[in-house]
Amino acid sequence: MGEVELSLAAVRDALVREEDSIVFALIERAGRPRNAPAYAPAGGGGGSGGRSLAEFFVREAEVLHAKAGHYQKPEDVPFFPQDLPPPVFPTKGYPKVLHSFASSVSVNDAIWKMYFNELLPLFTADGDDGNYAETVALDFACLKALSRRIHIGKYVAEVKFKDAPQDYSPLIRAKDTNALMNLLTFKAVEEKVKKRVEKKARIFGQNVTSEDSADKQEGNADDSECKVNPEVLSKLYDLWVMPLTKDVEVEYLLRRLD
């Protein structure tokens, strides 16, 4: 995906495409058991300073991503932004369509907590296969996909603002977060998103066999065969992804007139 263009259709397309990435990432992570030792704070030795393997891995991976020029766009936000090195390689410029402070809006702390404390237990089976490095790499993929989807909220907010500045400006000036949240929320759209992402989990998570079955396209397989329970996706979006996206939208808007 190139730069997110600024129209509601383009932004919605970007969000829809991110759903696939999120479902794929969760399916891949669900292929491994919980592997709890990967998340336990490490003992003193080895220089990890009491951090879990997951945190060590994400920090190191983000350093590499930063050197590779990854955190240039407002939707790409690191989980550990402090002391990240600048890009070592030349980076391509991109058209700035958002307010300049956009990059500093981040809800990654909330995403991190949600992912490890709430989500992981819901879709991974108990057990330990010892493959901790592969596991945390898969976690990182999930975190990146979730973070990206949620921070695309910055574009959503900009589009909505541009569409009706007269509605948003007074609320922004009054710092009326509740009213802003109401103005941003479209229940009908949210219901559709939840249903669609649930459907994707059903279709992408099924066991595809080479025997022909028209059902496979529609994903009419029994949910218990799915690699990730479709209800988990629905719950993920309902309780966390959409609310956090709206938090990003509100945070962005509150500074939009600065």
Binding site: M1, D20, G46, Y132, T209, Q217, E218
Partner: protein
Amino acid sequence: MAVAMILSYRYLLICSATLALLLQLCSGLSLDTVREFLTREEDTVVFGLIERAKYPRNTPAYDPGYLAGGHGHNASFAEMFVRESEAVHAKAGRYQSLQEIPFFPFRVPFTLAPPYNFTTELYSAAAFVNVNDAIWSTYFNQLLPLLAKNSDDGNYAATVASDLVCLQALSRRINYGRYVAEVKFIGDQQNYTTLIRNKDTDALMKLLTSEAQEDVVKRRVQKKAMVFGQNVTLDGPVETGNSNSSQTSFKVDPSLVYELYDKWVIPLTKQVEVEYLLHRLD
């Protein structure tokens, strides 16, 4: 004398069959578990390709000349990113279990991973066998041009990160041929041993190959590309799997995925199997 020979021959047969059974019970490795693993790996490969296809070719990321100015590097952005990523993975404990083999081996004095008692089902003298070089060059030179649209969006880091995911999936799948070979060897030790001693690669390849099975795999992975790569909407999928669907209906061309398995994944896996077997009696 003849009776003694018959008895000792029977004894040998019983011994080696028992040993084979014991080994399989201990390792949990069987033709079924091996097939299960490979089947699950297909999903990973297809997801990986779909995610890579999100980005265009982004050729500068693969051009060693792109980084040359002032840094004295001969490596492309992609190579550097993969090397450094694998170093991070290695520090986190990847590659310990021998199931995965890195493209750029990196020695770590210790890892930060919590300890775990890995058992290996592979014969240790043959466990190193891999075709990562062939996978690397096939992926970048043959597959990518067919997979990604020919343009440049500057997202080199995200692009190469998704290349790494594809490379790891393909490497894991193809080098799993070692486990396939081990299972086949145990299941038919006499025949394989003779061929290995004679270094008869052609006959080994023939013994390993089941065209019927390969056909099932290719058709299944093509179908997965159709199912996973479709545009899912609430009004029903955009295309209903009609074989006349144009390529743009799916995120990855299903016939490309068929070709990938037909021309590269399956042949390379068998190459690994043969090479592993040639070392199996070392």
